[in-house]
């Protein structure tokens, strides 16, 4: 068996947790329990987990506006996350951040980011710190097909090559930047080729295939730890929901998502593979599913019961100066 059973169980649990968390977020948002803008990552779970499963808390990730999956994969507490997206004072960021700004520094989760392209320069900094301090830690940034076109992203890529930083640029290519097709926004035929042009190894993988994605990222991470500099990994994937929860998605073909849920669901693909190979039993995974449903149910119940921030104490805290 090329993968340890424990590894496979962790991978499955993490992916399933993300799926359940996102689906519950959609439901709770629609029910009015989650305010603001929420970008769900269901459909894209395999990439987040493949990227983070081997990382320690001292390895750093920088995330995007679509960051719940990255948080969960990096080990953030789902209870604290649910409270945060609900805006409660016991949330991961005391309710001050919300879905687009979840961060958990202790877990090496540098933050979701509501500015497209905001992350990669910061992740370069984390990688620079690791390199300078000789920690052998690595840093990963999550990027999209859309954020690939932001100047900050391209500057960070070039600098990562120049300084040979241990930074893995993960590109989740879900085919869309909001309601714009990826291949409209990208002027080139292949993002991977463009990224290779910066002078770093660049791989293209099927992001619905956990194993292919994991294997590619593992090589990149090892290279970075060994001082071999940055890598770009473009992983093709499908966004199962809107750009944001509530997006009418008029720009998408009629049966596109319906079909993708049938044939391009990374969780179904994972299950089919591990069952076929005889690596895990369906019953074991079904039992995990049940546990996770209960876990997220509890996260929602705890979130709804959690205290709301108190403006008299919380509005003016955590900032240098309040006039």
């Amino acid at each position: 068996m090329p993968y340890q059973e424990d590894f496979l169980l962790r991978a499955y649990r993490s992916m399933r947790t993300i799926r359940e968390f996102e689906e519950r977020c959609i439901k709770e948002f629609m029910g009015g329990n989650i305010p603001g803008f929420v970008h769900a990552s269901n459909g894209q779970e395999a990439i987040a987990v493949a990227a983070c499963i081997d990382l320690s808390d001292s390895d750093i990730i920088g995330s995007t506006h679509r960051g719940h999956g990255h948080c969960i994969a990096k080990g953030c507490d789902v209870g604290g996350m649910m409270k945060e997206v609900m805006g409660r004072s016991t949330g991961l960021c005391k309710g001050k951040g919300g879905s687009m700004h979840i961060a958990d520094i202790d877990k090496g989760m540098l933050g979701a980011n509501a500015i497209v392209g905001g992350g990669p320069p910061l992740v370069n900094g984390a990688a620079l710190a690791a390199k300078t301090l000789g920690t052998k830690n690595v840093a990963l940034s999550f990027n999209g097909d859309g954020s690939a076109n932001q100047g900050t992203t391209m500057e960070a890529m070039n600098m990562a090559v120049v300084l040979q930083l241990p930074h893995i640029f993960i590109y989740e290519n879900n085919g869309y930047a909001e309601g714009t097709a990826a291949n409209y926004g990208l002027g080139c035929d292949s993002l991977t080729d463009r990224n290779a042009g910066f002078g770093m190894p660049a791989e293209y993988v099927d992001g619905n295939d956990f194993f292919a994605t994991y294997d590619a990222i593992k090589v990149a991470t090892q290279r970075a730890r060994d001082g071999g500099g940055p890598t770009s990994i473009e992983a093709k994937c499908v966004r199962f929901d809107g750009h944001f929860i509530g997006d009418p998605q008029l720009y998408r073909g009629e049966d596109e998502v319906k079909n993708a849920r049938k044939t391009e669901d990374c969780l179904k693909i994972f299950r089919a593979r591990v069952i076929k190979e005889g690596w895990l039993k369906a019953a074991t995974m079904n039992a995990i599913d049940k546990e996770i449903v209960a876990e997220i149910e509890k996260a929602v119940a705890d979130g709804l019961a959690a205290p709301r921030p108190d403006p008299s104490t919380d509005l003016l805290s955590d900032v240098y100066s309040s006039y």
Binding site: G36, K96, G179, Y184, G253, D314
Partner: protein, 358 residues
């Protein structure tokens, strides 16, 4: 005088606007902006719109014009004039603003959209070092007739990076004009002026106001920059408010009117140029000034206006000036915190009572 309605409150625009006649319709702020841009695009083929999702659906299998801007302000323009003039761009704000400025130097009148004005950060050099400085730095030889539109402000639970207002940042910069309409009527007239203006104009739309309706003339009209509106007139206290804060100022004035306190509510409509004369004239009568602004307090518009009045109207003042602003913090996400962050009617009332010593 024409009367406009904002969220159930009545406001009277200043006499300057009374000349606009003809048929009117009830229009939302969003529609008024759309009308202004559409008519200018029909009238002038050099007007173009560019930005992210300004039409939407580019390269996709589903519907074209799927968004028309994420707030729907530019909806329907692309089907009418085509993708050559309503241009969906990659997510590259520096390149968007730079392209608009360069095109403005070369015969077009671009309207560039920053989907959320917070994204100015990514593009700031192209605005303040480039577009804003060309005319002066090139000895008056260069023209940059462009509009940068963006949605601003808190109230949508959109979090720290999608809720800033930032008008004082751009107001600080010579070469830029900064426009902040508080109702649909002004939104239309100011947008027309912004498009026809020869300088770069920053046009800030408050995201909580897009559905606010009032009576708007059907015909195209331009409201000159630097002329305040006077939605309420009074003699006891001057309240200067901008953008969505005008709504709160009017509500406060109406409550106080019932107590026999009359307020002169001034909506400058454009903060650069600023109608400081109107403010000073009002303070001459009232002797009392409250400035209401959603921006952060330091180096903000409220302290700027307070400074102007302290300098030029000191001897009219009968009480210290009071400012009502957001606190000096980023915009928080949680609803309770965000609601406490944004100035509201109660805070305006407290400030007015304070300057009256009541």
């Amino acid at each position: 005088m024409s009367t406009v309605h904002t969220k159930g409150t009545e406001m009277t625009t200043n006499s300057n606007d009374a000349k606009i006649g003809g048929k009117t319709s009830i229009k939302a702020y969003r529609e008024a902006l759309n009308d202004a841009i559409r008519e200018e695009m029909r009238r002038d083929p050099t007007v173009i719109v560019l930005g992210e999702e300004v039409s939407g659906g580019a390269g996709c299998d589903g519907q074209d014009d799927a968004y028309g801007g994420v707030f729907g302000v530019t909806k329907g323009l692309m089907p009418e004039v085509g993708r050559e003039r309503v241009i969906d761009t990659p997510i590259s704000e520096a390149a968007i603003i730079g392209a608009a400025a360069g095109a403005a130097n070369n015969g077009l009148r671009p309207i560039a959209e920053l989907m959320f004005f917070d994204f100015i950060g990514v593009s700031f050099d192209q605005i303040f070092n480039q577009a804003a400085k060309f005319r002066y730095m090139f000895g008056g030889k260069s023209k940059t007739p462009m509009v940068i539109r963006g949605t601003v402000g808190a109230g949508w639970r959109a979090g720290a990076q999608h809720s800033s207002i930032l008008h004082s940042v751009v107001t600080h910069i010579p070469g830029l004009k900064v426009v902040m309409p508080s109702n649909a009527y002004d939104a239309k007239g100011l947008m027309v002026q912004a498009i026809r203006d020869e300088d770069p104009v920053i046009f800030l739309e408050h995201k909580v106001m897009y559905n606010n309706e009032c009576e708007v003339p059907d015909e195209q009209y331009a409201i000159p920059f630097g002329e305040a509106a006077f939605p309420r007139q009074g003699k006891d206290v001057t309240i200067v408010a901008i953008s969505n804060m005008v709504t709160h100022a009017i509500a406060a004035a109406d409550i106080l009117a019932k107590e026999g306190i009359t307020c002169d509510v001034i909506d400058p409509r454009t903060v650069s140029p600023l109608d400081d004369e109107a403010i000073l004239e009002s303070v001459e009568v009232t002797g009392r000034l409250v400035v209401v602004d959603e921006g952060n307090p330091r180096c903000g518009l409220a302290s700027d206006i307070a400074g102007i009045v302290a300098e030029k109207g000191f001897f009219s003042l009968r009480a210290p000036i009071r400012t009502v602003t957001a606190p000096h913090t980023p915009v928080p996400f949680a609803p309770e915190l965000e609601d406490a962050y944004v100035p509201n009617v109660d805070k305006v009332l407290a400030a007015v009572r304070d300057v009256l010593g009541a």
